[in-house]
């Protein structure tokens, strides 16, 4: 029986605390945690979303360990398969998955402003959608 710990993965602006393990200087996710973090699922035929599957063989020889409820996938291999950059700190069981370039490119081609919600200085959330039907000037600034 494999022992799992909680690993923290930041993806798409959300902090996910999910079941996984730290082994061999790498962070591993339980297969059941994969959809929460990535929107993809690890199935017998491969890593799948909707009707697209990346075959298991394409994930790399050492990407998957264990079977059934004990199955885990190594996070770097998972991110590589999804063409997403990842930064991993095994000591803290913490990792960050960057946005998928393909998703960014999608919003660029369509020319749409991606939806967002950010806190104001007092922590109150403000969304782009709060100003629907108006012209918006987004102004990025900083104290530095």
């Amino acid at each position: 029986m494999t022992t799992f710990t909680t690993v923290t993965v930041v993806a798409d602006g959300t902090v996910h605390a999910v079941g996984g393990a730290v082994r061999d200087d790498a962070v591993w996710l339980r297969s059941e945690s994969v959809p929460t973090v990535t929107g993809w699922s690890l199935k017998p035929e491969g890593l799948c979303r909707d009707d697209v599957c990346i075959p298991r063989a394409a994930l790399g020889a050492d990407a998957i360990a264990g079977t059934g409820a004990d199955e885990t996938i190594e996070l770097r291999a998972l991110a590589r398969a999804l063409q997403r950059a990842v930064a991993v700190e095994p000591v803290a069981a913490l990792a960050v998955v960057a946005d998928a370039p393909a998703d960014l490119a999608g919003s660029i081609v369509e020319g749409r402003a991606p939806a967002f919600t950010l806190p104001d200085l007092d922590g109150t959330p403000v969304a782009l959608a709060d100003f629907a039907g108006r012209k918006k000037l987004l102004f990025a600034w900083s104290s530095w």
Partner: protein, 187 residues
């Protein structure tokens, strides 16, 4: 509608700066993007940058450096006035600042190396916030090495590295960036 979005890690620094810039309460929202998740999604790599979004949430002018005045014109290399004029024409008369094709041409997807640098930076900030200084700075160093020309990563990291964003470290970066041909700078 103006939405001012701060890329500061330190929310109090942003608050102090907003107060200093305006003695009267601001009439527009001041938001905080500590994780740079918004900045990355919109392709913002420096400040001050504006992005124009129309009534149908289409981007009519992609991210571009847009100083409020000509105080730093020697560094910036162009005047603020054309941007102001174009902005007035768009707001008052609906004049599009550029053709749709140019909007698209300017918005290239980020390369893999920059995305890796951004992931390392975000990981570093989460570690630093949790008090894991050594681990955090190790990842921040990786981000800095991966994105030598990215202002948001290079200059934006100076405060958390205990360095002055208006001091020698900034000027060293500025000179290196200028010698490299001012990469990524679009007015």
């Amino acid at each position: 509608m103006l939405l001012a979005i701060s890329l500061d890690e330190d929310v109090e620094a942003a608050r102090a700066c907003a107060r200093e810039e305006s003695p009267v309460p601001l009439t527009y929202p001041v938001l905080v993007d500590r994780d740079h998740a918004w900045a990355e999604r919109y392709g913002v790599i420096n400040v001050p940058t504006t992005i124009w979004v129309d009534e149908d949430d289409r981007i009519v002018r992609p991210p571009a450096i847009a100083p409020g005045d000509d105080k730093f014109i020697e560094f910036v290399g162009f005047s603020a006035e054309p941007h102001h004029q174009a902005l007035r024409a768009w707001v008052r008369d609906g004049v599009a600042p550029m053709a749709d094709t140019e909007v698209r041409a300017r918005r290239a997807a980020p390369d893999a190396r920059l995305q890796e640098a951004r992931a390392e930076r975000r990981l570093a900030m989460h570690l630093l916030r949790a008090g894991a200084a050594d681990l955090g700075h190790a990842h921040l160093d990786r981000a800095l090495a991966l994105a030598p020309d990215d202002w948001t990563i290079q200059r934006g990291s100076l405060p958390v590295r205990g360095k002055d964003p208006f001091g020698q470290d900034f000027f060293d970066f500025y000179q290196r960036w200028e010698a490299a041909g001012r990469p990524g700078y679009e007015g």
